[in-house]
């Protein structure tokens, strides 16, 4: 179904906000900055988001749903657990290339400015779509006999912490090679760390 004008404008605000927040940070970015870059009045902006905090939370949900949707496609594919790990790593690194602002926002705003997200966005509330798909991935991996049965967060932290760390090093221009070159070895490491022994 074609997007309505209102939905298109909302998407435009999300795209601009992600870019500005991830470059300048949450506090240094103002609503007039965002409105100006989208090409709308500040008054009109408030028809879409009632405050900067509300927008910040909406962005977390947006990123979580984006990741959740892609991981869900992988979860529902015919791939075995090892291939799924490779696909998740590839998807994440591609996202770091094509939509770097999403990962930047996650690392530099969501994880760094926790005070903004304390109300209404705590725990799983805003990141549910993404974390649920990772739960499904791990559950499938253990029940198919591929992965070692352990605490969820120990495994989740190993997987996502590793990817986040690599993207951070990439963003800091510390990595000698493009991210692409690390997909294979990182997927192998994750599989070896999590597989059943």
């Amino acid at each position: 179904m074609a997007q309505t004008m209102k939905e298109q404008r909302k998407d435009a605000i999300i795209a601009v906000a992600l870019e500005l927040f991830s470059q300048r940070g949450f506090y240094a970015t103002t609503i007039p900055d965002i409105a100006a870059k989208v090409g709308m009045s500040v008054g009109n902006f408030y028809n879409y988001f009632t405050s900067k905090e509300v927008l910040a939370k909406e962005l977390v949900v947006y990123i979580s749903e984006y990741l959740g949707k892609h991981i869900r496609d992988i979860n529902e594919s015919e791939a075995d657990t090892e291939e799924k790990i490779y696909k998740i790593v590839s998807m994440y690194f591609n996202m770091a290339h094509e939509r770097p602002e999403m990962i930047e926002y996650f690392l530099r705003v969501y994880l760094s400015n926790r005070e903004i997200f304390l109300d209404d966005c705590e725990g799983m509330i805003c990141v549910s779509a993404f974390v649920t798909e990772m739960m499904i991935f791990f559950d499938d991996g253990v029940s198919s006999g591929d992965l070692y049965d352990q605490d969820f967060f120990s495994a989740f932290g190993l997987f996502m912490g590793y990817l986040g760390g690599m993207v951070f090093l990439f963003g800091e221009k510390v990595l000698p090679d493009p991210l692409e070159n690390y997909k294979e070895s990182i997927s192998k490491n994750i599989y070896n760390a999590l597989k059943i022994r």
């Binding site: 725990g123 799983m124 649920t132 739960m135 499904i136 253990v142 605490d151 969820f152 495994a155």
Partner: protein
């Protein structure tokens, strides 16, 4: 109990491999006397009966309702007559056949000694195989280990009143088995907010994550029609073992199978994705009232 006709029902109770648990349970029915007065008991191993096992085993009599308790073992005899022969003889003319307990319904506990040979009357777990397959239209399964007295009380009352008993695909009365054992548990609020009981025998907390409770996956009305009109397993702190389902008994009654802390099975009819989404969000919140001991709760707070 208002009866449809003056003629009494003739009732025959036979047994296969059994612990007598369903007989014992039935004796606890609060209106047992009314049911017995409305029936002629041809034979029951522990109730005053019109006939002896010797006469029954001649296969010359008939009954309206045939009740079978226990697992069917094709090699088993009663009074030197094959149980299969007795069953087929009485099933032929019976208007209703009731399998009482999970053994008679699906094989249950006593199937374990010979899983390939032993079965229920019409089912071996969920496979259609058993000595009364050809009479399956007449068979009502009352699964449970043991049955709740009221489940047989209800079934016999419906038959006495000549009312139709609607059954599910496993031949269990819908009126009794369309509920989950989880429905009506006093721990439901703990289930909703994902507050688990950490110790055996606590009044507080849900038994789903830590103690193997299978009630959300088990069709039974244990928490709707209470046991002894008083309580249920889960209300008193013992997890549901899923005893009304065809796969009973399973191993590790007190353990919830999890994969990386994620329950292997989720409530009937709910996708794992939906369950995990709701459960994850519910877990985010900490509700003081539910995390404290009930005895410490102060209404004035």
């Amino acid at each position: 109990m208002p009866l449809k006709s003056d003629k009494k029902l003739t009732l025959l109770w036979l047994q296969g491999l059994t612990c007598n648990g369903n007989s014992h349970s039935f004796l606890n029915l609060s209106y047992l006397a009314d049911v017995l007065l409305a029936c002629d008991i041809l034979y029951h191993p522990s109730l005053p009966s019109l006939q002896t096992l010797e006469t029954i085993s001649t296969c010359k009599l008939e009954c309206d309702v045939l009740i079978f308790e226990g697992t069917f073992d094709p090699l088993m005899q009663r009074n030197n007559v094959m149980v299969g022969k007795l069953l087929r003889h009485y099933a032929q003319k019976a208007r209703h056949i009731i399998a009482v307990g999970s053994c008679a319904s699906f094989g249950g506990m006593f199937k374990a000694s010979a899983p390939q040979r032993n079965s229920g009357l019409v089912f071996n777990e969920t496979a259609h195989e058993g000595p009364l397959l050809q009479y399956q239209e007449k068979v009502i399964n009352l699964s449970g280990c043991p049955i709740h007295p009221e489940w047989l009380g209800y079934t016999l009352s419906m038959i006495l009143q000549e009312k139709k008993i609607l059954v599910d695909s496993l031949h269990r009365p819908i009126e009794l088995y369309s509920y989950l054992a989880h429905h009506g548990c006093t721990r439901n609020e703990y289930f909703e907010w994902k507050v688990d009981s950490k110790k055996f025998g606590e009044k507080e907390g849900c038994l789903y994550y830590e103690q193997g409770c299978r009630a959300p996956m088990t069709h039974a009305s244990c928490n709707k029609i209470l046991w002894n009109d008083v309580s249920s397993k889960t209300r008193s702190g013992t997890p549901c073992f899923g005893c009304t389902e065809p796969d009973f008994p399973r191993a590790n009654f007190f353990r919830t199978k999890t994969n990386m802390s994620i329950p292997d099975e989720v409530p009937v009819g709910i996708s794992k994705r939906s369950y995990l989404t709701v459960a994850g969000i519910a877990k985010t919140f900490h509700i003081k009232r539910l995390e404290e001991k009930l005895i410490d709760y102060k209404t004035a707070d």
